[in-house]
Structures are given as structure tokens and as C-alpha cells.
């Protein structure tokens, strides 16, 4: 589905079903160097089970034009504008990694307009080491290998995004390269990591969220460890949020390494 958002063409995968204004909507937001396709084993199912799915390519990433967001706040502006462009009055937000911060920031601003908030592989602060930041700019292939090694929790993923026989590490590396190559003006790797690193509004944003929150964490996640999510969990607890924490038995590639557990957790949360 193509929409005009902030004056530029934006793409959102709808899971093989046309957008239906009568259905509830879930917006899925990818992380750094990813696109809509990382959600394929969650998005297509939800689209065939009562939801409008808008799995976006963030601006300047793959099929979406426009300036790649330089901050979590700028990306949140885009998500809000996307909902306006699609005519969506209320939506659930699901974000992974950087996308989780974007979803959090958006939910804090749009308040009752957001029905559910799912933070997959989240952390706050989401600091990126100086070495990795530097590598993302000057040695992106080396940095991709680093993050994919950190993201991997198994050498034997169950049937995954491309079906049985998928080598998740290779598939993620290939997607990272494709996303980086999709923007010839900006290094979206470095820009995305910088946005993660600089985001400072996480605790205030969590305090301002009005909808139920699901923390969907990878028990073996080395990129955004479950421990690194505890500041947000604690804030949700202290500010009286309705929230749930689910640990899936994989790492940062949980949508592909634990597709069933990840889908089950999201679906049950959205249904509740």
C-alpha cells in the first residue's frame, strides 16, 4: 500500500489483504537497517485474522521515499502522519529495537489514539558503543557482521521467514545490505544507530503512555538485553500502566528465530 506522508510516498505492507477502514489497525515499525519484511511471520497472520496491518518502511528505507529520520522524535512524527494519511483513528503500535522507541514516543504523544503498545527487543537508554557507531559509518559491512552475530541466538532456527531452510543470519545480512543500498544519500545505518543512541525521552514517554504495554523480550538477546529493558518496565510499573512482560527463548532476531512465540505473544496481547 502506498500513501503520501509528509509530502513523500510511503510504503506499508498490508499482509496480503486490502486496507479495510472497518477493522482495527496495527502499525508495525522495523528497526535499524530493516524494513517491513522482518515482520512477515507476524504481519501476514494478523492481516488474515481481523486486523489492518500497516508494516511500514520508514522514510528513506527501501520502498519509502523521504528523508530518513535522524531521531526517534522525527520518526514518531512520521508514524503520526502515517495514521493521518491512512485515516486511522486508533491503532496498535508494534515496534522492534529502534522501532520500539519510535512506537513508544508515538504512543506517548498520541495517547488514546494508540490502543496497544508492543515493545519488541527494547531497551532504554538504547546506547550504541562508540566503536559500533563509528563502524556503522566507516565500515558498515564489518558493523553488520557484529550486530548480526550479537543478534543471533541459534544456529538452528525453526522454519522462518522464507520458510524451512532459511539461514536467518544470512537473510538478515542480505536485508541489511539491501536497506543500506536503498538510500544513496544517507547512511541509514549510522543515522538509525545515532537516533537510538541519542534518544533521551524514554522514561518520560513511558510515563505518558495511556494504553496497555507489552514488553516482548528475547531471553538471549545481546543487542537489547532483557536487563536493559528494565528501566522502562520499572517506569511502567511505577506509573501504574497495564503491562505485561513476555520472554521468548531467542535473541534479537526473535521475529525470525522465534516466530511462533513472538506471534502468539502479540496476538494474545492485541486480543486482550
Amino acid at each position: 500500500m502506498k500513501l503520501t506522508v509528509q509530502g513523500h510516498e510511503a510504503y506499508a505492507y498490508t499482509g496480503g489483504k486490502p486496507f479495510d477502514p472497518a477493522k482495527p489497525t496495527v502499525v508495525m515499525i522495523h528497526g535499524v537497517l530493516n524494513d517491513h519484511s522482518v515482520w512477515i511471520l507476524q504481519s501476514r497472520y494478523l492481516a488474515h485474522h481481523g486486523w489492518n496491518v500497516l508494516a511500514v518502511d520508514l522514510p528513506g528505507h527501501c520502498r519509502s521515499a523521504g528523508e530518513a529520520p535522524a531521531s526517534v522524535e522525527a520518526a514518531a512524527d512520521f508514524i503520526a502522519a502515517l495514521l493521518d494519511a491512512a485515516g486511522v483513528a486508533q491503532a496498535a503500535l508494534v515496534g522492534h529495537s529502534w522501532g520500539s522507541l519510535i512506537a513508544l514516543e508515538t504512543a506517548s504523544r498520541l495517547k488514546a489514539r494508540i490502543s496497544h503498545l508492543v515493545l519488541v527487543g527494547t531497551a532504554f537508554p538504547m546506547k550504541v558503543t562508540p566503536a559500533l557507531l563509528e563502524a556503522s559509518l566507516n565500515a558498515p559491512l564489518q558493523a553488520m557482521k557484529m550486530i548480526n552475530v550479537f543478534s543471533r541466538a541459534t544456529l538452528a532456527a525453526p522454519p522462518s521467514a522464507l520458510g524451512p531452510g532459511t539461514w536467518v543470519y544470512g537473510a538478515s545480512m542480505a536485508l541489511n545490505k539491501r536497506v543500506l543500498a536503498s538510500n544513496t544519500k544517507v547512511n541509514v545505518f549510522h543515522r538509525g544507530f545515532s537516533a537510538c543512541d541519542q534518544y533521551a525521552n524514554g522514561l518520560q514517554a513511558m510515563a505518558a503512555v495511556t494504553c496497555p504495554v507489552l514488553f516482548l523480550l528475547g531471553a538471549q538477546d545481546q543487542m537489547t538485553t532483557p536487563k536493559a529493558a528494565q528501566s522502562l518496565v520499572q517506569q511502567a510499573r511505577e506509573s501504574g500502566k497495564t503491562f505485561k512482560v513476555v520472554n521468548v527463548p531467542m535473541g534479537h532476531h526473535q521475529m525470525n528465530e522465534s516466530p511462533e512465540e513472538t506471534l502468539k505473544a502479540i496476538q494474545e496481547f492485541l486480543q486482550a
Partner: protein, 445 residues
């Protein structure tokens, strides 16, 4: 620290795609000899058929044992995933049939396995797909052969049987400038010696019957996608970038930014053409892959000794291995292959000075080398290509592939190299005697 660092090739050969079986604790990969898999619910059944969830339905489409094999080969090649097929030829056909239909055109190397040459030259032509053949080293020829309807460039890593090394980076660049992918048959090198995806190829396939299996027991194939080719940017592959009404109007490139080829190949190609692999075959090939690094080391070491022996033998007119500086691919092999020219494989040809009868005497005198139509076995093998693997080719096509009437192809196995050399010595002596008995009076004895 949990998780994995970055396993090396030898570790991946043993572990990629497999963990101890969660239900039984079995350490070795179980053989899932079952046609089908019970659905948890009607909803799960529908979701599996509609690709909303991933899992196994029917073993023609996927199977847990095959999936281990597929993941393992994909890991070793540096790809995004793989599809196991009934044979190497099935992998080639699946690749072609996924990418094109009638009216399309392929540019292929002349130095191909005879079965591949036959498929392209005769069989696919019957289905409206034409092929232009060019010598693998003729870079201008590759460029000149491309037409507006070209959809694929195709060659072997080291051409069968002359071991012409394909200049993968250069041919890949030509392919990409034309907006088409490069498919490489990597059977003779295996991922241990060369990873074509790292050099610019887009798709790689194997006759897994050969080095991956390594024991001459089963027929199988596998195709690996590197996930690097941008089908949408090319604009030449509506099979992957437009709605396919044969599968829920799915746009494969939209479903997966990098995996459209594998999605369609499995969902259409395996489903409709049905050239799938038996789980028992997958299991046997996995046993082979577990020792692939060890076997390839021995293949290389033995080959080096045999090549040196043959090159110095007076009855041998030519040895076609890039180890020798005289071989046209010597420099390219040193540049591309992991271990240089030493790693240009253990399947090579040589020419005996003398008649066709002397060639026959040579083969019949061998005791350790087995005369049969296979390569990449742990046992050493021998064959006469002109009368067997390449017999359908015309003399002109044979010459184009670097094969003469007296060419002998060897596949060096894992026996003691001294025993192999003794066997060859004895057979060459028999060939010499055969020549002497036919020689006119007063001729060379």
C-alpha cells in the same frame, strides 16, 4: 555470554541447522520419514497454507530433515536459504523455471556438465527458452550474447571437465549491468574451496550427489540464494515482482525483500514440478557434509600428487588442472579459490598420447579407480567423457568444451596417494603396451 560468536566453516559443517532433538534428545539429525505433518488446528492449517506462519505441511514442499540440510548448505555458502532438490539437474531446472518462461534467453558457458548442456541446448529450447553458449573466458562473448530477453547468465565454478575457472566477479558484473542474475554450478569446488556468492554470483547450486555427499550413495541437489539480486530494480522478473494468481496473488518480492526467489521456487517449483529430495537422502548428504572439510583437504592433497605424477609421465600429452602453470586458468584459480590453484578441485582430465584403443586399455587396466559416471566420491573414479557423459555433444561442441576423443577424466578420492599413483602407472603401462602391439613393424615400441 549466551549465543554464538561467528562460527567458522568447519563448525558450521557440523552444527548449522541442527540442535539436539527437543523431544528425544537425539544428537544426530533425525530422519523424518513422513509424508505429512499433523495440524494443531484448522486455523494453523489455513495459516500454513497461506504462508501466514512457517512450518511443515507436506514433504514435497518441506521436511524437517531437509530443512537442516538446506540451512547447513546456505550457511556454508553464505546465502539466505536453500532448497533441496531431487538432483543437481532438478536444482538447475528449478532455478530456470522460477526465473523465466517461454521467450526467455540464457547465456551459458560452453564448459558445462553434459547433462546441463543438453538441458539448455535441446530440452529447454523445446519449451521456448533459448541458450547462447560462450567460452567461459571470453568476456566480450558474454557481453555480446546478451539480448533484451536474456534472463540469466550461467556457468560452472570450474568447468567440466577442463577446469576452466569462471571469472565470477567479471561475469557477475556483466550480468548485473544487464539486469539479470548469475547462476553458478559449484559442484566441483564445494563451498569449502569457493563461495561464489562472495564473488558476486547471485544463485548457486550443487549436485549434492558429489562432494557434499561424498560417498557415492545418493542423488540430490540444492540451490542457494544469496539474497543479493534486486528483482524489483531489474524490472525483468514479473514472476517475482507481480501478483501471482497461482499463489493467493502473492507478490513474492513484497513478502520478502531479499527472498523472493526462494519463496516462489518452493511454493511453485517444488509444489508443481515436484522434484523434491527424500529426507533419507538429505540425512545421508548431511553425514557427508559433516566431514566435508576433512575430505576436501585429502582430495586436494591427493590430487596435487597425482597431477604432478601425470604431468611428468611421457605417455601423457596434457594434464588439465590449474595447478600447472600451463593451464589457462592457473592465474585465475590462484586469485579466486580459497587455496589457490591447489583448490581447483579433484576432478580433472588428461590426454593420453595414442589411440582410442590405448585409452580403452588404460581404463580397463585400472584396479583402484572405478570406471563409472560420477565424480566427487571418496573412492577414485575414471571415465571417458566423449563416449559417456558428453556423448550427446557434437565434435564441435566437444572441442568447445575442451574435450578430445582421448580425454580421460579422473576424480581423485581419499585412498593413499601412492596406491593411486601405482594404479595409474600400471594402467599407463598397459596403454603403452596396447600401442606397441598395434604399432607397425619398425615403429616405436
Amino acid at each position: 555470554m549466551s549465543g554464538y560468536s561467528d562460527p567458522h566453516f568447519d563448525t558450521l559443517a557440523l552444527h548449522a541447522g541442527a540442535t539436539p532433538d527437543p523431544s528425544t534428545g537425539a544428537r544426530a539429525v533425525p530422519i523424518h520419514l513422513t509424508t505429512s505433518f499433523v495440524f494443531e488446528s484448522s486455523d494453523q492449517a489455513a495459516a500454513l497454507f497461506n504462508l501466514e506462519r512457517a512450518g511443515h505441511v507436506y514433504s514435497r514442499i518441506s521436511n524437517p530433515t531437509n530443512a537442516v540440510f538446506e540451512q547447513r548448505v546456505a550457511a556454508l555458502e553464505g546465502g539466505i536459504g536453500a532448497i533441496a532438490t531431487a538432483s543437481g539437474q532438478a536444482a538447475l531446472h528449478l532455478s530456470v523455471a522460477t526465473l523465466m518462461g517461454a521467450g526467455a534467453h540464457i547465456v551459458a558457458s560452453t564448459a558445462l556438465y553434459g547433462g546441463s548442456q543438453n538441458l539448455l541446448h535441446y530440452t529447454l529450447r523445446r519449451f521456448g527458452i533459448e541458450t547462447t553458449f560462450v567460452k567461459p573466458g571470453d568476456i566480450d562473448g558474454w557481453k555480446a550474447a546478451i539480448r533484451p530477453n536474456t534472463r540469466l547468465l550461467f556457468g560452472e565454478t570450474v568447468g567440466n571437465p577442463g577446469l576452466d575457472v569462471l571469472d565470477i566477479p567479471t561475469v557477475a558484473q556483466i550480468a548485473h549491468e544487464a539486469g539479470v542474475p548469475l547462476l553458478v554450478d559449484s559442484t566441483l569446488t564445494s563451498p569449502y574451496l569457493l563461495k561464489p556468492l562472495e564473488h558476486g554470483a547471485d544463485l548457486v547450486y550443487h549436485s549434492a550427489t558429489k562432494f557434499l555427499s561424498g560417498h557415492g550413495t545418493v542423488i540430490g541437489g540444492v540451490v542457494v540464494d544469496g539474497g543479493s539480486f534486486d528483482w524489483e530494480r531489474s524490472g525483468k522478473f514479473p514472476e517475482l515482482t507481480q501478483a501471482y494468481d497461482g499463489f493467493h496473488n502473492m507478490v513474492f518480492s513484497e513478502e520478502s525483500t531479499v527472498g523472493a526467489f526462494l519463496l516462489r521456487a518452493r511454493r511453485e517449483g517444488l509444489r508443481d514440478f515436484g522434484a523434491c529430495m527424500s529426507p533419507h537422502t538429505a540425512w545421508l548428504i548431511l553425514q557427508g557434509i559433516e566431514t566435508l572439510p576433512l575430505r576436501m583437504e585429502r582430495h586436494m592433497a591427493n590430487t596435487e600428487k597425482v597431477v604432478q605424477f601425470l604431468a611428468s609421465h611421457p605417455l601423457v600429452a596434457r594434464v588439465g588442472h590449474p595447478l600447472l602453470e600451463s593451464h589457462p586458468s592457473h592465474a585465475l584459480a590462484n586469485k579466486l579459490l580459497r587455496f589457490g590453484a591447489k583448490g581447483a578441485g579433484s576432478v580433472f582430465s588428461f590426454d593420453i598420447q595414442g589411440s582410442r584403443e590405448q585409452g580403452r586399455a588404460f581404463i580397463e587396466a585400472l584396479k583402484i579407480f572405478s570406471h563409472l559416471a560420477n565424480v566427487g566420491d571418496c573412492r577414485s573414479l575414471v571415465i571417458h567423457p566423449a563416449s559417456t557423459t558428453h556423448f550427446r555433444m557434437t565434435d564441435e561442441a566437444l572441442a568447445g568444451a575442451g574435450i578430445g576423443p582421448g580425454t580421460i577424466r579422473l576424480s581423485i578420492g581419499l585412498e593413499d596417494a601412492d596406491d593411486l599413483i601405482d594404479d595409474l602407472k600400471r594402467a599407463l603401462k598397459a596403454a603403452e603396451k596396447a600401442g606397441a602391439s598395434k604399432a607397425p613393424q619398425g615403429g616405436k615400441a
